[in-house]
């Protein structure tokens, strides 16, 4: 178990390093330079060169990378080329927004997905077919399209929820929840469909296992067979898909944050790229990778804890 943990940790660090190298190389291969941005449009080549020198862009690649890495390791991701803000603290301020959306959407998907999936598997028949078709359609709709539709119906037509914007939790918990409702629902529609499908398949597989027949032969009450034994058996795949969902929501938040004007990581990524804000791009890549890696790590541990074969090894 300990060696397993050590291996996963080492791999996590390697992943973050790889992402940093990739983003570093991408930025340097692009041909644009930070000096061209800070010096502004219409600056002479000499001015641009001077700016680049000030920002250390003219040093050897390895030196630049190591300097950047050294700073990053100490929580210093540099300052934005556009407004001079500290990138680390900016991203840290944005993290709760994206984390809130991803967390709530995952939670909603888990609750409704498992309920619907179990119902489809246990009831079968018409309900099962309805769930199959419904989830198939929900999976195929582009999220931004669903989001716009929800905005139109719920915010514009029925005035039930605010269309866009974000209120922090500390400012007003009620408005915080309201401002998250539409983006979370939008994301949870896809998530619910995926979890429902995984749960359904898992439950059907579980109910066909030989050990379920042993339980039946012992006269075990059906609820115990379904909701203790079969659900527990189907739990592994559901949990791992939930983890993947959470990661996908973090990445997918770019589109949703743009759509709902939420000041999260995704919006920061889109802004940084729009403005060719090189250190900000690198910062976003690193933070996003760290989130993915931590989620994967937690997921590995949860799955290991769920599986007696790993746990007792």
């Amino acid at each position: 178990m300990l060696t397993y943990l050590a291996r996963r940790l080492a791999f996590a660090v390697a992943t973050v390093l790889a992402a940093s190298v990739v983003s570093f190389l991408l930025v340097h291969a692009s041909g644009s330079s930070p000096g061209a941005i800070t010096a502004g449009a219409g600056a002479s080549p000499a001015q641009v060169a001077a700016e680049n020198h000030r920002l250390g862009w003219d040093q050897p690649l390895v030196t630049q990378y190591l300097t950047w890495l050294g700073h990053a390791a100490r929580g210093n991701l540099g300052v934005s080329l556009i407004d001079g803000h500290n990138i680390w603290s900016d991203l840290l301020n944005r993290l709760p927004v994206t984390a809130s959306i991803a967390l709530f959407a995952t939670l909603l998907s888990a609750i409704f997905g498992v309920l619907i999936g179990v119902a489809a598997a246990v009831r079968g028949g018409r309900l099962d077919r309805l769930v199959s078709v419904g989830s198939g359609v929900a999976l195929s709709l582009p999220q931004f399209w669903v989001g716009i539709l929800l905005v139109y119906l719920i915010a514009i037509k029925w005035h039930l929820l605010p269309a866009t914007g974000y209120v922090t939790f500390s400012a007003s918990p009620g408005q915080y929840l309201q401002s998250l409702a539409l983006p979370v629902i939008t994301l949870a529609i896809t998530g619910t469909a995926i979890i429902a499908r995984t749960t359904r398949t898992g439950m059907i597989t579980a109910l066909r296992q030989e050990h379920i027949r042993t339980l039946q032969a012992l006269g075990t009450p059906p609820w115990r067979i379904r909701y203790v034994h079969a659900l527990r058996f189907a739990g592994g795949p559901v949990v791992s898909v939930l983890g993947i969902q959470f990661i996908a929501l973090f990445g997918g938040s770019v589109v949703i944050e743009q759509l709902f004007a939420l000041p999260g990581l995704g919006q920061a990524a889109a802004n940084a790229i729009d403005n060719s804000d090189i250190p900000a791009v690198q910062g976003v890549v690193i933070i996003a990778t760290v989130v993915v890696v931590i989620t994967n790590l937690v997921l590995d541990l949860v799955l290991a804890a769920l599986d007696p074969k790993v746990r007792t090894a």
Partner: protein, 690 residues
């Protein structure tokens, strides 16, 4: 697993539903097959049309792409503009058509790149063993752990908006899940015998891969390609929606939706056409993957079933020599049509018929009885209905199979007519079962302690601590020397024999009167088999338990049973005491089973070939109206085509009567163990019964 495929459903999750396991095939079969494949056909047609339409768009677009009609802005659908016009009065259909290639083409490229990298990598890894495999797997895992949408955006930030280049990068990122899926498959295909043979014969590795490995993976490739395509379309649209998509001369669909969203407050219609085309394309790709994948699952299942059947058929029917114990005559099976239930019998099965719902009968008019404390063996080849008969007693038939007639008298009640909840009260408490494969009969995620104490508490109404004490006691009773440790273990930590002991202990939790043991030793090693058999024997002796053993092994039956019922093709063809039936078989089938016995009596020469029964057990739908064994019987005559009644045989004991279902039974003088004197025909292959 896709760590982060951003806007779209991740690959894994899409892979989950892709193969609606064949098990579901039955569940879904109420939906006519034609409709399901029609869905697949429609989807394929849509995708082909889309591809052709997008490539030829300039030829059929109703209006020039940038043709603006300032007086006709934001119009709904009409005769001149089928899908309406946008803010600048441009024809929506034209815009969708013009944007279609740039929406679809780059995604196709991404899929091609993903496969172009992923599959060769998987093939190489499968071919070159552990180190290469480990290296490339680490690399794939790394790619998977990167946040792909953010990486794509970083790429856009660095190089600007180039749809084809961006989708190439997406292809590289997606090659990781492709690799992940195919490396396992490539490895297992390579171990297939014919692939191995080709390699040994010096066929070059490229040829092996092209001729054998790739074709075997073709279906999976098709399924994955369709799913990746769906994911790619969604990701591309998401990027375009953000403004990182093509804009000149015409935006892709994501861009069109972004345009439409500008005026969604006033003109929601504009959202609909593009959204629908986009959604339909993704749905079509997913349905296609489902259809192809479902087909594959069904094939796999069929192949697995065929393999299982073959394996079972290959098991020799073993006779236990002449070691039949002198059996008590008290529990003789009862012949077909006796009027009243035997008052002394524990179990009295009368004319039991089990059938597939609106299908053929699997077991017809089976009758036998059991006295308390007796052991009855149900023998016959695979596919004769032994297991179905046994499972029908406590009402544990597989879904779609039901009792169609007859009765199962157990302790004064007819179980065949009882509702499910009353049967549930009998299961475990009065009738318990142990199954063929102990290794999968226990729940892998719960400890043995939990699995034993749960029913103990339910059956005996005791607390947790007391239940644990009883559990340890039961484990001791089934010969486990270290109950404390076993209680703490999980099923995967037990050996097969140990697991079967635990299963027996589990069956004893409700102190049942009847134990049904379905091939209890088949999956075990020979030495362990003997241990389990002696455990069962001692349980019968010490607890007065009655046992119904289903077996194809005549040795087990001779060893353990008092009585035996021989089943063939869903019927009991001969029944009586073990001494009577196995010592002096009357039915040619029983004699043939005994003749296929690989044990050679002392002093006799070892035969070159083991006699076997030619042919196979007919399928339920093909049963003749006459003797069902006639087709394989050397003694069959024309008269055998008429229905054969059961007649009394093997003497009449006080409790029951033996029967035989044959119009020319063997006379007792015919020695059953001399193969030449028996209707055991031409030997086929050693040890193979059919």
């Amino acid at each position: 697993m896709t760590a982060s495929s951003g806007t779209g459903p991740s690959l894994t999750t899409a892979a989950g539903p892709a193969g609606p396991p064949a098990a579901e095939g039955r569940r879904r079969s109420r939906l006519p097959r034609a409709v399901r494949s029609a869905g697949g056909a429609l989807s394929a047609a849509w995708l082909v049309l889309l591809l052709l339409g997008s490539l030829t768009a300039p030829l059929w677009e109703p209006y020039p792409v940038d043709d603006q009609e300032p007086l006709h802005t934001l119009a709904g659908p009409s005769g001149s503009h089928w899908l309406g016009t946008d803010q600048l009065g441009r024809d929506v259909l034209t815009r969708i058509a013009a944007g279609s290639w740039i929406s679809v083409g780059p995604v196709l490229l991404a899929v091609a790149v993903a496969f172009g990298i992923g599959i060769p990598l998987a093939l190489t890894a499968a071919e070159h063993g552990r180190w290469v495999e480990r290296g490339s797997s680490r690399f794939a895992e790394l790619l998977l752990a990167l946040p792909s949408v953010i990486i794509l955006l970083a790429f856009v930030g660095a190089f600007g908006v180039h749809p084809w280049a961006i989708m190439t990068v997406l292809g590289v990122l997606l090659s990781a899940p492709v690799y992940r899926i195919f490396v396992g498959q490539a490895q297992s295909v390579r171990t297939l015998l014919y692939v191995d043979a080709a390699r040994v014969n010096g066929v070059s590795s490229l040829r092996v891969n092209l001729r054998h490995v790739l074709p075997a993976m073709a279906t999976t490739i098709a399924v994955q390609a369709a799913q990746l395509f769906a994911i790619g379309i969604l990701i591309e649209a998401g990027l375009a929606f953000l403004g990182f998509g093509p804009s000149v001369p015409s935006p892709s669909w994501g861009g069109l939706i972004a345009d439409a969203s500008q005026s969604v407050y006033t003109d929601p219609w504009l959202m609909v056409p593009t959204g629908l085309v986009l959604a339909l394309t993704v749905i079509a790709a997913n349905v296609l993957a489902d259809t192809v994948g479902g087909e594959r699952e069904r094939e796999r299942k069929r192949a697995a079933a065929a393999r299982r059947a073959k394996r079972r058929a290959a098991r020799p029917v073993v006779a236990g020599g002449t070691a039949a114990r002198p059996a008590s005559m008290t529990a003789g099976p009862v012949a077909g049509t006796v009027a009243a239930a035997d008052p002394d019998a524990l179990l009295d099965v009368r004319d039991l018929t089990v059938a597939v719902a609106d299908g053929p009968a699997l077991v017809t008019r089976v009758s036998f009885g059991m006295r308390p404390g007796a052991v009855l063996g149900l023998v016959g080849e695979s596919g004769c209905g032994k297991t179905i008969t046994a499972r029908a007693l406590p009402g544990l038939l597989p879904e779609g199979v039901q009792v169609a007639g007859g009765s199962v008298w157990f302790a004064g009640r007819d179980l065949a007519g009882l509702p499910e909840h009353q049967l549930r009260a009998i299961r475990g408490r009065e009738i318990a079962m142990i199954s063929q494969e102990p290794m999968v009969a226990l729940d892998p995620v719960f400890s043995i302690g939990y699995q034993l104490t749960q029913p103990i508490r339910r059956f005996r109404g005791v607390g947790r601590a007391e239940a644990r004490r009883i559990a340890a006691e039961l484990l001791g009773q089934v010969g486990i020397t270290d109950p404390r440790r076993v209680l703490r273990s999980y099923p995967h930590q037990l050996s097969g024999g140990m697991a079967q002991r635990v299963c027996i202990a589990l069956a004893l939790t409700g102190s049942p009167r009847l134990l049904i043991a379905d091939e209890p030793t088949t999956a075990l090693d020979v030495t362990v088999q003997a241990e389990i058999l002696s455990l069962l024997r001692s349980l019968v002796k010490t607890t007065g338990l009655s046992v119904l053993i289903v077996s194809h092994d005549l040795g087990v039956v001779a060893d353990l049973c008092d009585d035996v019922a021989v089943m063939y093709a869903g019927q009991v063809v001969e029944a009586g005491t073990v001494a009577g039936v196995l010592g002096q078989p009357s039915h040619p089938y029983t004699a043939a089973l005994l003749g296929a016995n690989p044990h050679v009596a002392e002093g006799l020469p070892v035969p070159d070939r083991l006699p076997s029964i030619p042919g196979t057990v007919p399928a339920p739908a093909d049963w003749p109206s006459g003797c069902r064994f006639a087709g394989r019987c050397a003694l069959a005559t024309a008269a055998c085509a008429d229905p054969v009644p059961a007649t009394r045989a093997h003497g009449a004991g006080p409790g029951g009567t033996g029967i035989v279902r044959c119009i020319h039974p063997l006379s007792p003088r015919q020695e059953p163990h001399q193969a030449h004197g028996l209707p055991v025909p031409r030997p086929v292959e050693p040890g193979v019964t059919s």
